[in-house]
């Protein structure tokens, strides 16, 4: 009886030898994987409401799941480098665009900025704020390592800015100092009195800076912005005409003079309405100008008072 069984078993094994080996190997692999997984210690995720990649503002897109960890790694790497004063390493994590337009490709200028922000060793927190254009925009807050002093004799205070993260041929890179981008506008307007050229626009998260080159073609003075008259320079953004928040100098040109001005307007990078035109709203061509005249006196003296708009779209 056993002989018959043995013979049957032998024949079966001989006939299906290869299949049995394959089944055995597969089965062993399953057993091993199962064992490893059963003994693998799970990473403990603390029960918190913190969701760094949940976007705060309504955005065109969300941060894809596969980008979330690399973004966290990038920001961690950046902060660590700055904390360890490895400014050259941190500078290399920036986009070329940011290096050029914010720091003039100068490591020294970057060091000046970074050493002011990272004056002490910092801890940080991040939150996806908005996703717009080609960027994932994160808000980063930096605070001194207050666990070391328990805020003794200090008020709770932190520094914050927007970090724009871009994926390009070099992988994920950063724009810091609220910088979002740059447009080479080269838009011009010209008449008998002035030649105006809007060279470029630097876009920061909350504002835009226009570089405006103006030539006075006349033998007289051209007063464009002297902070006296009001509504002298405007940016048309949607239905709104917005005043500048800052100009680097008064826009007054002598006869045949050419100068370049930097004019800043408040505008959120992810705001829906685009900037349509820059309006030089009160150009006054005046023969004799001492700088002490009142607005009314200038208007009385002015040979020509007019407005010029330069479309930038």
């Amino acid at each position: 009886m056993f002989l018959e069984l043995r013979l049957k078993a032998r024949n079966f094994i001989k006939k299906h030898k290869n299949k049995l080996i394959v089944i055995l190997v597969v089965w062993l692999i399953i057993v091993i994987i199962n064992f490893v997984l059963a003994h693998k210690k799970e990473n403990i995720v603390l029960n918190t409401t913190y969701a760094p990649h949940e976007v705060l503002l309504k955005s065109d897109f969300n941060v894809p799941k596969d980008k979330q960890n690399p973004i966290e790694d990038l920001i961690y790497d950046y902060v660590e480098k700055c904390n360890n004063k490895d400014y050259s390493g941190a500078f290399n994590l920036l986009t070329n665009d940011c290096k050029t337009h914010v720091f003039d490709d100068s490591l020294d200028k970057y060091k000046e900025y970074a050493s002011a922000v990272f004056n002490n060793k910092k801890r940080y927190t991040i939150q996806n704020y908005s996703n717009y254009g080609q960027y994932y925009i994160y808000n980063i807050k930096l605070i001194d390592d207050i666990i070391k002093d328990g805020l003794t004799g200090k008020e709770y205070a932190y520094y914050e800015e927007k970090l724009a993260i871009q994926e390009n041929e070099n992988g994920l890179q950063l724009c810091v100092n609220n910088y979002m981008g740059h447009d080479d506008l080269k838009k011009s307007g010209e008449d008998d009195y002035l030649k105006v050229r809007i060279e470029d626009r630097l876009k920061f998260y909350e504002y835009e800076v226009y570089k405006i080159n103006i030539t006075n073609k006349t033998d007289q003075n051209a007063i464009i912005y002297n902070e006296e008259s009001g509504n002298e320079v405007l940016a048309k953004i949607g239905d709104e005409n917005r005043l500048p928040t800052k100009t680097d100098q008064l826009m007054i040109l002598g006869p045949h003079e050419t100068r370049t001005f930097n004019v800043t307007f408040q505008k959120f990078y992810d705001g829906q309405a685009p900037t349509e035109e820059i309006i030089l709203n009160k150009i006054r061509i005046v023969k004799d100008y001492t700088g002490k005249e009142t607005d009314d006196e200038i208007l009385k003296k002015a040979e020509k008072t007019y407005s010029m708009s330069i479309p930038i779209q």
Binding site: V31, N34, L46, N47, Y124, D149
Partner: protein, 190 residues
């Protein structure tokens, strides 16, 4: 000769086959034992067997903490810290403080003990005012908790007591449940 050889070979296959079957059965039993959830009775028995009472308490505490919101966890950590002081277990309270913080403000445990007796004694109640989170997934979550300390025993407050009735800020970094370090704003001893 050749038939003997064949027979030997076939015996080898049979032995191999049975070994494989045995290995499979043993592995299966092991997997079932490992993955099978423990019954309530078994768990209770396990609990009874656990003679180290303090360790048992710790486990229960940890389980509870996992179910708490982060705000309540922070309150619990501060509560444990104050409880240790109240129970005169200064070493345990001192242990959770950040090393740099200790070096600066309480280099010796006696310094901490003296401070704790004055500012964290049982007659002083803490009221939680606000909490702020400073989190990232790389270096742990830091919390700042604002509290108001109030002397519960005294109706007429002396100048010193009024001074004590101040805001104390606690800073906690939580690495894991029940794994944290803390510091607090130290009141000047003028």
């Amino acid at each position: 000769m050749s038939s003997i050889k064949k027979k030997k070979n076939s015996n080898k296959y049979i032995i191999l086959f049975f070994i494989c079957i045995m290995v499979m059965i043993i592995s299966l039993i092991l997997i079932l034992k490992i993955t099978k959830p423990k019954s309530k009775e078994e768990q209770q028995k396990e609990l009874k067997d656990n003679t180290a009472q303090s360790q048992e308490n710790e486990e229960i505490e940890e389980e509870k903490i996992e179910n708490l919101s982060e705000q309540n966890r922070m309150k619990r950590y501060i509560g444990i810290f104050l409880e240790n002081i109240e129970n005169k277990n200064y070493e345990a309270a001192y242990e959770v403080l950040n090393e740099d913080f200790k070096k600066t403000y309480f280099p010796k445990i006696e310094d901490f003990k003296k401070y704790a007796q004055k500012y964290f004694n049982s007659s002083i109640g803490l009221e939680y005012e606000d909490i702020e989170r400073f989190a990232n997934n790389k270096t742990g979550n830091m919390y700042i908790i604002w509290t108001i300390a109030d002397n519960l025993l005294s109706l007429k407050k002396s100048d010193e007591e009024k001074e004590i009735e101040e805001r104390t800020k606690f800073v906690i970094i939580e690495y894991d449940y029940n794994n944290y370090e803390m510091s607090f704003s130290v009141m000047s001893e003028e």
